[in-house]
Amino acid sequence: MKLVVGIIKPFKLDDVKTAVQEFGVQGLTITEVQGFGRQRGHTEVYRGAEYTIDFVPKVKLEILVEDSEAQGVADKIMEAARTGKIGDGKVWIIPIEGVLRIRTGEAGSDAL
């Protein structure tokens, strides 16, 4: 099993959700996060007050999938989240040792 992790622009969440659902993903976890990549933070000015945005708001997705589906899900996220502008985010895939469904105790693929 794999964990597909994506960092995307917040407004792209609905598009990405629809795309991975259409692909057949059963569930996903999201977290509102902040960070910086190449986009860095930036300083804005309003009425003479400078405020620095060190960390840019993003949404982090985590999706557990079968090995065979990981690349497909990652591709879907990429397609749906892409605007072509800086700060579109990243997707990465992590191998998973094991998964349990808490309610039933099902393990592995059965728990997805």
Binding site: P10, A49, I53
Partner: protein, 834 residues
């Protein structure tokens, strides 16, 4: 097997939903009593031993998941005592454990029990109401007598600890009436509150429990009667909840509410939450009243005598840390007085006197004259301190007199993962959060929160009271059919009319309620780098910066009041970004509107044709820079090239306007000529026409007043300079040298070259101390570097000058190659130091 029998009997009780609350507790207690008596008989316990039920088992208020608290009370002494007791308890407790009952248990002598109770409040309260189950009943009676004696002896300490516990439950886990997932036992207004009152009664002696509180005047008989139904409902719910979940939790989670309601035969979960909230409110309210009186009695007469009466308003007095309200001769209280009393309670953060609260029930209809309205706004502005005041008013029916729509939101649940509070408390919390934002705005005015955008926005609000009204009403239609924003806007319109808010204010309040979700939605779901997104929000605000400010603050206040899931730094960043962009869009729009107005006025004055000869040749920024009179004057100048004009404008200042064919170095020539002519330039605006003319306007002063006396001299100098008849470099340097010994030493020169600010030009910003010919030297440096200055802004701030130049290279292209940018900056600094 006793344990098997016990387990089956308990399971049968749990499976029988007709046994509600107290009936279940009593049945389970009887089953346990029977089992324990059987075991006790079986083990042939010695005569100096008793089995005593404690806690909810003693009160016969057991729930399916309750701990069963039992005590083996003994009077055994000697060497073998402890071994005998251990053998005895193992045989007694094992059947309970085997039956799956969680037991709190102990084996102690009376002396040990009392000494433990003296150290630990929970141990003491557990002994105040015990029940004898088996064995030597005289031991049980003696234990109870001594525990009650101890409670009286330690009255002050116990009462303070109980009062603190009551206050702590309000903060955590929170008030049952206001929480969407309340804790039936530990929540404020829950079972623990009722028990705490009973324990408080025991510290005051016989006849015990709440009866003592009534006898001593801490609790009225009427209030005692009002406590009972609430306690019964809580017991019913707790038993039903634990039946449904099969667990010991007392937290009525959203997902269990339907099943619990069904088991108790209630129409739906909303009805359940509503009934529960009413009951819990009553319990919390009456408890608060008792603890207030207890606090008074603990302070004693000496504590109360200190403060003199303080008349706050007509008929409103602050006395002994309470707000007292007087009624008129006919027993009624004018609405204004009620509002002023509320303000006093909020301002001084003190409760109402109980009798005054009862009198307040006779508050008259508000007329919403300017005084009542201002008082109401003041009350809202107190924010967090106003919340208990609103709760008190709601309890006595005063709030619905002021705002009848409140009855719709009272204790109304909302079923989603974001919210923490019921609708009514959420609205008050939103008001409190908005008031806090306004506080930050006030602090900003006196030097705090310098870099806090929210504070700057709050400070800029023209009508902060509309924010408070918006916060109070934004969810007023939650739970009505239809979109709560739309329906709420209609309700808000009705309320605003009744409160006689002026028409502009009314329109804005209604608009705020209608769009209160707009910014949060757009910020999280739209691409903020797309300019049309901010434009659309600006348009939704009717391009009114005040509306945008109020909506922004309401978005923050509403989100913070919702719960931790609705607001975090990430979302705050998005909403702020949207605000700043929409504010810029509104400003751009205002500029566009201003430019359009000026164009229209020019056409009227000059006629279509002449106006267009000016407007078509000059950029938008030109139209924004000058008023219509000046533009008309420029139109005449543009018809005779070249022209130099120098006009005194008062205060020793002159405006020099030059129209000439544009060429490299023109700015340097003009700046040099002005310096030679004795004009210290404080402001320069340079424009180029589409057909190659320069229209440059300088504002400056002559510290010696000669220029104002003879402006023609300046004109002559400029004309000669344009004709190349003056060696400007030499003349300017001479002047600079003559003045240098008298001026202050020039400070550092800093140059910043920015390639991000404009798409078409490189922006050069120079900070330097004001100096003779400074602009000339800068402009000359640009000429030497083959840099074309297209726009210059000169601003003099006292001794310091900030000059901003929009420049391109000799081929008319933006300079953005990093090397070129760096060498441009370095070359400028080097030349300015020379």
């Amino acid at each position: 097997m006793i344990s098997a029998r016990l387990r089956d009997a308990r399971a049968a009780l749990v499976a029988d939903p007709s046994l509600r609350g107290r009936a279940f507790g009593a049945s389970l207690a009887s089953v346990l009593d029977g089992a324990l008596i059987d075991v006790f008989t079986e083990v042939e316990a010695p005569g100096e031993v008793a089995l005593v039920a404690l806690g909810s088992y003693a009160r016969r208020e057991l729930c399916p998941g309750s701990d069963v608290d039992v005590l083996l009370l003994h009077n055994l002494r000697g060497r073998n005592a402890s071994r005998t007791v251990r053998a005895l308890t193992e045989r007694l407790w094992y059947p309970l454990w085997d039956a799956g009952l969680v037991t709190g248990h102990g084996a102690r002598t009376i002396k040990e029990s009392i000494s433990l109770a003296d150290e630990d409040l929970d141990a003491l309260t557990a002994l105040l109401e015990v029940r004898h189950v088996a064995g030597a009943s005289d031991l049980t009676i003696e234990l109870e007598r001594r525990a009650r004696e101890l409670a009286v002896r330690r009255r002050g300490r116990v009462l303070r600890a109980l009062a603190e516990g009551f206050a702590a439950r309000r903060a955590r886990p929170g008030a049952i009436a206001e929480m969407l997932e309340p804790d039936l036992k530990e929540g404020s207004g829950g079972l623990r509150d009722v028990q705490a009152l009973e324990w408080a009664g025991w510290t005051l002696g016989e006849p015990g429990a709440t009866r003592t509180l009534v006898a001593r005047g801490f609790l009225t008989a009427g209030d005692l009667a009002r406590l009972e139904p609430g306690r019964e409902l809580l017991l019913d719910l707790r038993v039903a909840l634990q039946r449904v979940t099969g667990s010991r939790s007392d937290r009525l989670a959203l997902q269990e509410q339907d099943a619990v309601a069904e088991q108790l035969g209630m129409p739906d979960a909303d009805a359940l939450v509503h009934d529960l909230a009413s009951a819990a409110r009553e319990i919390a309210w009456i408890s608060a009243d008792v603890w207030m009186r207890v606090a008074d009695s603990l302070r004693g007469p000496a504590g109360r005598a200190g403060s003199a009466d303080h008349v706050v308003a007509q008929g409103v007095v602050l006395r002994d840390g309470r707000v007292h309200v007087e009624a008129d001769g006919d027993g009624s209280i004018p609405a204004l007085r009620a509002i002023e009393a509320a303000c006093a309670a909020a301002e001084h953060d003190v409760p109402f006197d109980r009798a005054s609260l009862t009198r307040l029930r006779a508050t008259g209809e508000p007329t919403w004259d300017v005084w009542e309205r201002a008082g109401f706004v003041r009350l809202l502005r107190f924010g967090e301190n106003a919340v208990p005041v609103f709760e008190a008013f709601d309890h006595e029916g005063v709030l619905v007199r002021l705002l009848p729509e409140w009855s719709h939101v009272r204790s109304r649940p909302q079923r989603n993962a974001y919210h923490r509070f019921t609708v009514d408390r959420h609205l008050l919390e939103a008001v409190a959060q908005c008031a806090q934002l306004l506080d930050a705005g006030d602090a900003h005015a006196t030097g705090g929160f310098e870099n806090d955008i929210d504070a700057i926005v709050a400070r800029a609000c023209r009508r902060p009271e509309l924010l408070l009204f918006g916060a109070l009403l934004h969810d007023i239609a939650k739970g009505m059919p239809g979109d709560h924003s739309k329906v709420g806007a209609q309700t808000a319109e009705r309320i605003a009319r009744r409160m006689r808010i002026d028409s502009e204010g009314r329109e804005i309040v209604v608009w705020l309620v209608r769009h209160h979700l707009l910014m949060a939605e757009v910020a999280t779901r739209r691409d903020l780098s797309d300019a049309t997104v901010a434009d659309n929000v600006a348009a939704a605000c009717a391009a009114d910066a005040e509306r945008l400010r109020l909506l922004y603050l309401l978005t923050i206040g509403d989100s913070r009041a919702t719960g931790p899931a609705a607001w975090n730094p990430s979302k705050a960043g998005l909403v702020r970004d949207l605000f700043v962009k929409a504010a810029a869009a509104i400003e751009r729009g205002e500029a566009r509107a201003l430019a359009a107005d000026r164009r229209e006025a020019l056409v009227k004055r000059l006629g279509e044709e002449r106006a267009s000869t000016v407007l078509d040749r000059l950029p938008e920024s030109y139209v924004l820079a000058f008023d219509v009179d000046t533009i008309c004057a420029h139109a005449a100048l543009l018809e005779s090239v070249p022209t130099v004009q120098c006009e005194p404008v008062g205060g020793g200042n002159v405006v020099v306007t030059v129209v000439a064919p544009d060429r490299p170095g023109l700015l340097a020539t003009l700046a040099g000529a002005l310096s030679v002519g004795g004009v210290n330039v404080s402001d320069a605006q340079l424009f180029g026409t589409a057909d190659g003319l320069a229209l440059d306007v300088f504002r400056g002063a002559d510290p010696f007043g000669r220029v104002v006396e003879d402006p023609a001299r300046v004109v002559r100098v400029i004309e000669r300079a344009l004709a190349g008849e003056i060696d400007l470099a030499t003349r300017v340097e001479e002047r600079r040298r003559s003045y240098a010994p008298f001026g202050e030493r020039a400070g550092p020169v800093t140059v910043e070259v920015n390639t991000d600010e404009s798409d078409t030009d490189t922006v050069v910003e120079v900070h330097a101390d004001d100096d003779v010919g400074l602009l000339y030297r800068l402009a000359s440096a640009f000429v030497e570097l083959h840099v074309d200055v297209r726009v210059a802004k000169v601003a003099t701030l006292g001794q310091r000058v900030v000059d901003v130049f929009y420049v391109r290279d000799a081929n008319g292209r933006k300079i953005d190659d990093p090397e070129a940018v760096e060498s441009l900056g370095a070359a400028l600094v080097a030349r300015m130091r020379a």
